[in-house]
């Protein structure tokens, strides 16, 4: 593992992913390292699991299963000031698949003068989007099994094709990136580019070591860009027969000619997000490290996964708000406990946008997660997590919107190599 990402990997909740902390690289023979990690899950109980198939797509509804959540293999090469990294992911979440998780080429410059940025790094490739603390956190370092609802909604895959600049001066880190705007996991056009406009994202973070055993990490983030509303192709005339009286005989009243329609154009729309995050890390005598963290994100038209935002289709902007708060506590050298609550409203104006009740009447997703982990080493662990999920995706007995029961109990084994 290169020192580039070494910071923070020895703890359950690493700090902001900083830049290389080691000395300036020496020229010479390239340094190549291959490493990775494996996460295998056993979902012991899932409330929305059924031994049935989805009617429209025939995908299994059963969730209580064993799966390979992430099997990652990463190769790093360092040649003087040049860094390269390729990470391959394999998983069985939707059947066995293998794909590119990240890939980057970087140029690194380290200075020694205190009045100048002590580190500068320019990267190009499939990069982590510089927004918020949670998106920056590597999946293997996060104690909780998955990211929060707001993180998964706004940044479904955390990675996008981008050009990124990073600079560090003392305890400050500045990250700026121009991204395609169709990150991994964002649906049909993920990791492609639907419009020429690039999303501009950035984060300014500080890592302050206080007196005693307290450390404070925090940051502010922004994103500005353009989303894409797909148009529809032209259709030809269609002759349709619907057997309305179910007699199996064609009758003229059952035949309709549906005229063709012209294509409708695709359109771009504005979107943005701002966020702030804070993490307090302290050491308790005899117990271990305690970490409290929180993050708030306010966005407009940026949901790309849970309730995809499209102001062209909706006829109005959709404002999103997400809040994450949690705490983790080490108990001795091996045991770690954690609890996290996240709340995400995919449409803040749902209740007041229209004169009548709309559906979903609430666009709020929330998860309360409790995790217990046993660590064999800094990165090898077994974790058990219970997720208490609330959402607006279900239906009550009267056909009204309701919570779709989806609580889960998951066991994850992780091994890094």
């Amino acid at each position: 593992m290169l020192s580039l990402f070494a910071a923070g990997t020895a703890r359950a909740n690493p700090p902001i992913p900083l830049l290389p902390e080691g000395p300036a690289p020496a020229t010479g023979q390239p340094e190549v390292q291959v490493h990775g990690y494996l996460q295998t899950d056993g979902i012991a109980w899932a409330q929305n699991s059924e031994d049935q198939l989805t009617p429209s797509t025939s995908e299994p509804l059963n969730q209580e299963r064993l799966l390979i959540r992430r099997a990652r293999l990463e190769a790093d090469v360092r040649r003087g000031r040049l860094l390269g990294m390729v990470e391959i992911d394999a998983n069985t979440v939707r059947g066995p698949t293998t794909g590119l998780a990240s890939a980057e080429f970087s140029y690194l410059a380290i200075r020694s003068q205190p009045e100048l940025p002590d580190l500068f790094m320019a990267s190009l490739g499939l990069l982590r989007i510089p927004f918020g603390a949670e998106v920056q956190e590597r999946d293997r370092d996060r104690l909780f099994l998955e990211r929060s609802n707001v993180g998964r909604a706004l940044f479904p895959g955390a990675f996008d094709l981008a050009a990124r600049l990073q600079a560090r001066w003392r305890s400050l880190v500045l990250q700026l990136a121009a991204t395609n705007g169709d990150p991994a996991g964002s649906g049909k056009y993920a990791l492609q580019n639907t419009n020429a406009a690039k999303d501009l994202a950035g984060r300014l973070a500080a890592n302050i070591v206080g007196s005693g055993r307290l450390r404070v990490e925090g940051g502010v983030s922004f994103l500005q860009g353009k989303g894409f509303h797909p148009g529809t192709p032209a259709t030809k005339e269609v002759l349709v027969w619907r057997d309305q009286n179910e007699d199996g005989i064609v009758q003229t009243s059952e035949i309709q000619i549906i005229p063709g329609t012209p294509a409708t154009p695709s359109r771009n729309f504005q979107r943005f997000a701002v966020g702030c995050d804070l993490r307090l890390v302290g050491d308790l005598p005899r117990l271990g490290q305690v970490t409290a963290f929180g993050e708030v994100v306010w966005a407009s038209n940026l949901d790309r996964a849970l309730l995809p935002a499209d102001p062209v289709g909706s006829g109005r902007d959709l404002r999103e708000l997400g809040i994450v708060a949690g705490i983790t506590q080490e108990l001795g050298g091996h045991l770690v406990l954690g609890a996290r609550y996240d709340w995400y409203n995919a449409d803040l104006d749902a209740a007041k946008a229209l004169p009548v009740r709309i559906v979903p009447s609430s666009a709020v997703f929330s998860t309360t997660a409790f995790v217990v982990a046993w660590r064999f080493s800094s990165l090898d662990r077994i974790a058990v997590e219970f997720d208490l999920n609330r959402n607006p995706l279900g239906r009550g007995s009267a056909g009204l919107p309701a919570n779709l029961p989806s609580d889960t109990l998951t066991v994850r084994a992780q091994l890094a190599y």
């Binding site: 619907r242 005229p259 329609t261 154009p265 289709g313 009548v356 709309i358 559906v359 919107p401």
Partner: protein, 287 residues
């Protein structure tokens, strides 16, 4: 605002008068089996003329497709260029074989589509013939009147519309507990003494992901019964779309009185289909 316009000045080669071709989906005019070119349609003086045109109708409606326009071109013409005044581009339609009666006059057969974004009361369609050397002839013009958008007719109309090629279904339950949807398209004959009429379901759009492009369904009454109506929306299938943003309108004599909106996601498609399928989106009392 569209800024491009027909330029009736000399221009002697197609490539010199247009930019790279695009899809044409954002243009007001769309022509089947033709190639789209961005930029103003420019005519010339030395190329072949358009000898005659025949349109089956002189009126079109926004969103209409399949309007036929035929014509004959001067000797040597290999294509005809079609473009609307103020449109952002034009279309290049190859010429067809001439009629046996006039073997030196190529013909053309155009099927025209008109965008829903058209905001004009009259359209001027310009046609310019072009020969193999790229020489353009003088423009010929055909006028179309634009019919105003007509809301679904009926005393009470409930309309569901959505934005992606998904299969969504409208269900309306009337005060007599009759459910109108794709499975029951007409409500039972009412008692004549009540003075009410049957409700009629319009069309099951994108049924089973057989895409028809309408992306809308209606239920209408001429004289609806009084009482409480309930409207449900069912995501039968998203047909590979990531989501479908839908709106429900309640119209009285053509005027929108209520509306609701929401998003259908793959989670909505997991529920059972059929009668009383879908999620309730609004209810209202009809007096």
């Amino acid at each position: 605002m569209r800024t491009s316009a027909l330029v009736l000045l000399g221009c002697f080669h197609t490539a010199a008068c247009s930019s790279a071709a695009g899809g044409g989906a954002s243009a007001w005019l769309q022509v089947d089996d033709a190639t789209y070119a961005k930029g103003a349609l420019v005519d010339g003086q030395v190329g072949p003329p358009v000898l005659g045109t025949y349109a089956r109708t002189s009126w079109i409606a926004p969103g209409q497709d399949g309007t036929l326009l035929n014509g004959t071109l001067g000797p040597g013409a290999t294509a005809v260029l079609l473009g609307l005044t103020s449109d952002e581009g034009y279309w290049i339609l190859p010429a067809a074989a001439p009629d046996t009666q006039t073997p030196d006059q190529p013909r053309f057969f155009a099927s025209l589509g008109f965008s829903t974004a058209i905001a004009a009361t009259e359209l001027q369609l310009h046609l310019v013939a072009v020969d193999a050397a790229g020489l353009r002839g003088p423009a010929s013009t055909v006028s179309f009147g634009v019919l105003p958008a007509v809301p679904p007719s009926g005393g009470l109309v409930v309309e569901l519309a959505w934005d992606t090629e998904a299969d969504l279904d409208l269900h309306v339950i009337d005060p007599l507990d009759n459910e109108l949807w794709a499975g029951d398209i007409v409500s039972p004959q009412p008692d004549p003494a009540t003075g009410t009429t049957q409700g009629v379901f319009g069309f099951d759009s994108n049924a089973n992901c057989l895409i028809d492009g309408k992306r809308a369904e209606t239920v209408a009454w001429s004289m609806p019964p009084t009482g409480a109506f309930t409207v449900q929306v069912d995501a039968y299938s998203l047909c590979q779309a990531q989501a479908a943003h839908w709106k429900v309108f309640v119209l009285r004599e053509g005027a929108i009185r209520m509306q609701a909106q929401g998003v259908a996601t793959p989670a909505d498609a997991r529920f059972a289909k059929g009668r009383r399928g879908g999620v309730e989106v609004l209810s209202f009392d009809w007096q």
